[in-house]
């Protein structure tokens, strides 16, 4: 056993679901890029909120409402610290990363887009970082430009730079590809874009649970992440935006909590961040996310990153040693994702057969169809790693793929 500073048995014991079996075999969960499992601390935090302090926030004068508000705002401060934002006014709770991107597309980009203006994304974006921009472009007559990737699945920075013109109104780029595992040079991307006065949104959905994402160090204008990939609950996401941008933007959704005053003639907007949080928020979700980020910090972000690096290298070797396996996504800067195809076998058949061995992987296009088209494949099988995975589980994946080969021999 290698020493990475992470006590793997202790970590595994913290995740109740890892004790269960699937098809009579111990669960090997390798679908973390879709969603991560939840530690006991997160499950308990959500449960204690509902059993102890459930009430609506920002409203009541009663004890429970005050306690719920404190917990909800405490979560916002926790998120601020995790992403090193300057202020909690810059942290908007959303349902997920998708909602964060839509918010920026509609409240920030759309008012700035005129016919012929341009939005730049990359060729390895998740559908959630493609479709909102297509909608904004359709509504305004703006044009979507796509920065290409090379055969390793790396963003071609020169091409990205060439796409930035005086008509570019925003660039929206992933920090880490969910289909390929590529980690993009986001600091460099922001620097290049800012040199041309182009604001940048960073999609940190995948990166946020594998590496430090420091929004001030990156100097990005916006950043989105989702709670359920940070070992937290579903239905809670985060949008970071520079305060100057957020303050100047019109609201995205209207309703309760986001207003200062309402008359039938006119309403005025609440201060940041509440202007962008219409209606009763996912209070339990925010509290669960708080517990998840505490948990990540307690295990240690350095230790997690080192452990996952070891697993990625080990898993890469396991797969490369199987005849007929080809890795899709071989970027030099890469994290925690092993996307692959097996000669003569469709990924769907791989997924079904390894599932019978208790191993959960994702098969399909991973909500990134343009990436599949780029590599001229219909789909891949994808094993994605998290802090609780082990080398033994990757060995089990290797044996299961050998079984696939036997079935299809």
């Amino acid at each position: 056993m290698i020493t990475t500073g992470l006590d793997i048995q202790r970590v595994r014991a913290d995740f109740p679901i890892l004790q269960r079996t699937v098809a009579g075999k111990p669960l090997v969960y390798l679908d973390n890029a879709a969603t991560t499992q939840k530690p006991r601390a997160v499950i308990d935090a959500i449960s204690s909120y509902y059993t102890g302090i459930n009430a609506n926030v920002h409203r009541g004068v009663h004890e429970l409402s005050q306690r719920a508000t404190d917990a909800y705002e405490g979560a916002r401060e926790r998120v601020r610290a995790y992403f090193n934002a300057a202020s909690t006014r810059e942290i908007i709770f959303t349902r997920n990363a998708t909602e964060g991107i839509n918010l920026v597309a509609w409240s920030f980009a759309k008012p700035r887009l005129a016919p012929g203006d341009e939005v730049v994304i990359s060729a390895m974006e998740h559908h959630s970082n493609i479709v909102p921009w297509q909608l904004a472009c359709e509504a305004t007559g703006a044009v979507l430009k796509v920065a290409p990737i090379n055969d390793r699945g790396e963003l071609i920075l020169d091409e990205f730079e060439r796409l930035l013109t005086p008509r570019t109104r925003i660039a929206s780029i992933t920090h880490m590809s969910n289909a390929l595992g590529t980690v993009t040079p986001v600091a460099e991307i922001v620097r290049i874009a800012h040199a041309r006065n182009v604001p940048v949104l960073i999609d940190a959905s995948q990166a946020a649970y594998h590496m430090v994402v420091d929004v001030q160090a990156l100097d990005c204008d916006f950043c989105v992440a989702t709670g359920h990939k940070l070992y937290g609950p579903t239905g809670i996401g985060v949008l970071y935006g520079k305060e100057a941008h957020l303050a100047a933007m019109p609201p995205f959704l209207g309703g309760g909590d986001m207003i200062a005053s309402v008359t039938f003639e006119r309403s005025t907007w609440n201060v940041l961040p509440y202007k962008f949080e219409a209606g009763t928020p996912h209070i339990a979700g925010a509290i669960g996310l708080h517990a998840a980020l505490d948990y990540i910090e307690a295990v240690g972000r350095e230790a997690i990153a080192a452990h996952e690096r070891d697993l990625l290298e080990y898993g890469t070797r396991v797969l490369q040693n199987i005849d007929g396996v080809r890795l899709i996504g071989t970027a030099r800067e890469k994290a925690s994702i092993l996307s692959f195809v097996l000669e003569g076998v469709h990924p769907h058949d791989i997924g079904t057969i390894v599932d019978r061995e208790g191993i959960a992987i994702r098969t399909g296009h991973h909500c990134a169809q343009p990436v599949m088209d780029r590599f001229k494949i219909p789909a891949t099988a994808r094993a994605s790693l998290a802090m609780y995975n082990t080398r033994e589980e990757l060995d089990a994946l290797g044996r299961a793929i050998q079984k696939v080969r036997e079935v299809f021999a």
Partner: protein, 147 residues
Amino acid sequence: MSDLRDLYQEVILDHNRRPRNFYAIPDASQTAEGYNPLCGDRLTLYMKVSGDVITDLSFEGAGCAISKASASMMTDALKGRTIAEANALFDRFHRMVTTPPEQAVEDMGKLSSLAGVREFPVRVKCASLAWHTLKAAMAKQPRVSTE
């Protein structure tokens, strides 16, 4: 492993390896495209009809073993049959793959090898894709999606 062998029977693996009627018909009287957006399976069905008889039936495309084998066996079974017979076989096949796994189904010969998908609910669509595409081709609809 036993349930896996139910799904991946030798006849299915054989049709996957060597799909029958896997070609384009340039002068087809009807074609239709089937697409399963969930997994990306895609096939084009070509059909040549004379009177009410299907004189040639073929397919092309990319998909998993189940969808490919299903298309291969379907085209084999329906070549030379009438449109009415094709509709009847569609109904029987549809009934077979949507009957709960604990219930008995009628013997459909080679096509019975696909009854194993009932144990794998997400795979039923793989087995059905070619058949829904067939329906679309017969109805002269150019495109069908399983979603």
